[in-house]
Amino acid sequence: MAYFSDAPPPSRPRSVVVSGLGILSPMGYGAEENTIGFRAGRMAFSPVTIFDVSRQRVATAGQVDLPDAAPDGGISGKAWSRMDRGTRLAWIAAREALADAGLSGGEMPLVVGTSAAAMPVGEEYFKQALASPVRRAAQLRRVELYQAQRQMTDMARQLGVTGPLRIVSNACASGANAIGQAFHLVRSGRADRVLAGGYDALCQLVFSGFDALQALSPSGIPRPFDAARDGLALGEGAGFVVVESAGSAKARGARVIAEILGYGAATDVHHLTQPHPMGDTALVTMQAACSMAGISPGQIDYINSHGTGTPLNDIAEGNAIQRWAGDLVEKIRVSSTKSAIGHLLGGAGAVESVICLLAMEGQFLPASLNVREADAVCTFDLVKTPREATLRRVLTNSFGFGGANATLVFGKEGEIS
């Protein structure tokens, strides 16, 4: 990754593949449980029990059933106890990704996206500072463990990953940006492989924030792209992938899950929390990612949309898809898996990338659940129930507060390059 002014120029872009994946979502632990759940069209919302929601408008979310005790193998009870809820989610998914890739750590960069990071630890620090400010016991530990870089450094140590650590915090596009950055690190030859992903855990501040914005669906059932959609549901989880040069993966005989074909990132400056209504920047990132991939909209077999279920976001993305696809829009198959597991914020882009990879491996289309009457913006083929399909190239969109927009394109290996 290093820059030296007298070093030779970078070689031609390299082919980049995914050689391992891991996922932990409200749908379940690991690739298999998630594949079964999305294939069956299951929804995974439940009452929030990890903090007080009794005075909120909404009381449900996609909460993961996470054990207090360290899982068997791979981590000590002491190390587990130091991890905040989000990092535990991340560790489980990252460990699966490494194992799936046939790796046990090593000198590779770790690029991680998160939005809330270890906020629950910060919340405890805050409460203690208010309640008993002169009591110092455990406060240093809370300050230390609140910091995302401390948590991720600890996680890397537990995983045996010793390369540089980069933590991207671009709100709800964080996870996608992390994978996109990893893609570029490998593509440019700056790294042979990178562990990349995203995570976020449910926490009170963020839950209250979305509730205060009245962005949460009062019923707790998100209906992305429904004409009468009324908001999102929050969720938690993590998705990780091992991003590797095709040459490196082949040299060590690794399983190649998919090729990363393209990545686009751009900034929507329309408003801090609202996208441009015509999806201008979403269009830019979709076009950029497909241009890099060397493919046209007609070659995309499935779009995992950002699809939050809020009135403004879905319109903007729908308009972007229409403009991007043009005359082909009716053939473009789109769904939002947030309808099943909620919005995983900083983890969303990474988890949805992994869902795309699972869909491509299993050759099925996950669904946008709960749609009664599709919004008029849905001139595309909105997938309302899971279906079997031939998937060779998939695209996933991620858009965040602050206008962070990202698009990733994955393909079956060898389809393009």
């Binding site: 002014s5 120029p9 400010p133 991720m152 570029h184 900034t267």
Partner: protein
């Protein structure tokens, strides 16, 4: 030979005042700013925390609708970024002739509004302000910067320890070399709040929490201050802090030739300064430690070091400058800058 990369603009907001000149005057004079005290009442008790604030007078925050409701962190970032970018380049961006990326690096982040919003949410969630919440997000300052300059180019926020600014430079290099942008603003910003200030003092009573912002504009050119070496940071996941600092020194490969300035990350707290002290123990050349004067600015520390190094090179005092630092809990990082004739 790669395309040369240069830092062609700098900005700073610090306890010394608004602007790079104010900071450099203080550093050259070796003066410490006068601390003030944050006070909060808890029952009958008053908790007083010494801090180094950015002085209110002389503020250069740009007038921009989005910045009206923001907390200081975004205002510091905006002022530093505008100073680094300069009016001419701002006009070029507005005219669509210059693609400028934005990278913000933070440790503490938007703590003022987070503190306020969470207090409101605990008191009565139904009354918590929806205006505050979006400003609590880590990438709010970087979003405001892109909106301020009117750039749709990539925009990333990195969370890191005090060395994160160097990771930001690294990412900027990627973008520029790849041709994603014509130039890149790399900005660090932090704001003072009782919550974070008291938190810092749990590490050491001798820390003096500080706030501010710093920015550099990096582009592909043969400018007066060129980026010569930016080795990979050494993760503390695989090395102890002292070992990491020594490894960074080795990777920098800089000569102690008397013409090279070392701008290190020491803050004046021996326990935390030890890695930098050990790694550079035999350094005989000139050496600055801006943090000892400007306070513990967490995420802005390496940024202020960088601005100091660039300014020192521009002044013609030195041929090269090293920025080196070891953070508390992530990495050790460094950079070698050189002055072009």
């Amino acid at each position: 030979m790669r395309t040369p990369l240069s830092i062609t603009g700098c900005g700073a907001v610090s306890p010394a005042g608004w602007g790079v000149a104010a900071m450099m005057r203080l550093l050259e004079a070796g003066e410490k700013p006068v601390p003030s005290f944050l006070e909060r009442a808890v029952g009958d008790e008053i908790i007083r925390t010494p801090v180094l604030r950015v002085p209110a007078e002389g503020a250069t925050t740009p007038k921009f609708a989005r910045l009206r409701r923001t907390s200081p962190i975004s205002k510091f970032a905006a002022a530093a970024a505008m100073e680094a970018l300069g009016e001419n380049r701002l006009a070029e961006v507005a005219a669509g002739n210059l693609r400028v990326g934005v990278i913000c690096t933070l440790t503490n982040g938007c703590v003022n509004y987070s503190n306020r919003f969470f207090a409101e949410a605990l008191a009565d969630p139904s009354l918590a302000s929806p205006i505050l919440f979006p400003e609590t997000v880590f990438n709010a300052p970087s979003s405001h910067l892109s909106a301020l300059i009117g750039s749709v180019s990539p925009n990333d926020t990195l969370i890191s320890d005090s060395t994160g600014f160097l990771s930001g430079i690294d990412l900027a290099v990627e973008w520029i070399v790849r041709g994603d942008v014509d130039g890149c603003l790399v900005v660090a910003s932090e704001e003072i709040d009782w919550l974070s200030s008291e938190g810092l003092l749990h590490y050491s009573r001798n820390y003096l929490p500080a706030e501010g912002g710093a920015a550099v504009y990096l582009e592909a050119s043969c400018g007066p201050v060129e980026l010569l070496r930016l080795p990979d940071p050494v993760s503390l996941a695989g090395a102890g802090r002292e070992q990491a600092a020594c490894e960074i020194r080795r990777r920098l490969g800089a000569d102690d030739d008397g013409k090279t300035l070392l701008v290190d990350g020491r803050a004046g707290i021996p326990r935390y300064d030890r890695p930098d002290a050990v790694a550079w123990e035999d350094w005989q050349g000139p050496r600055w430690s801006p943090r000892m004067l400007l306070g513990e600015g967490m995420g802005i520390s390496a940024a202020l070091q960088t601005v100091a190094a660039v300014s020192a090179l521009e002044s013609g005092l030195f041929q090269n400058a090293i920025v080196a630092a070891t953070g508390a809990n992530q990495q050790s990082a460094g950079m070698l800058l050189g002055k072009n004739p």
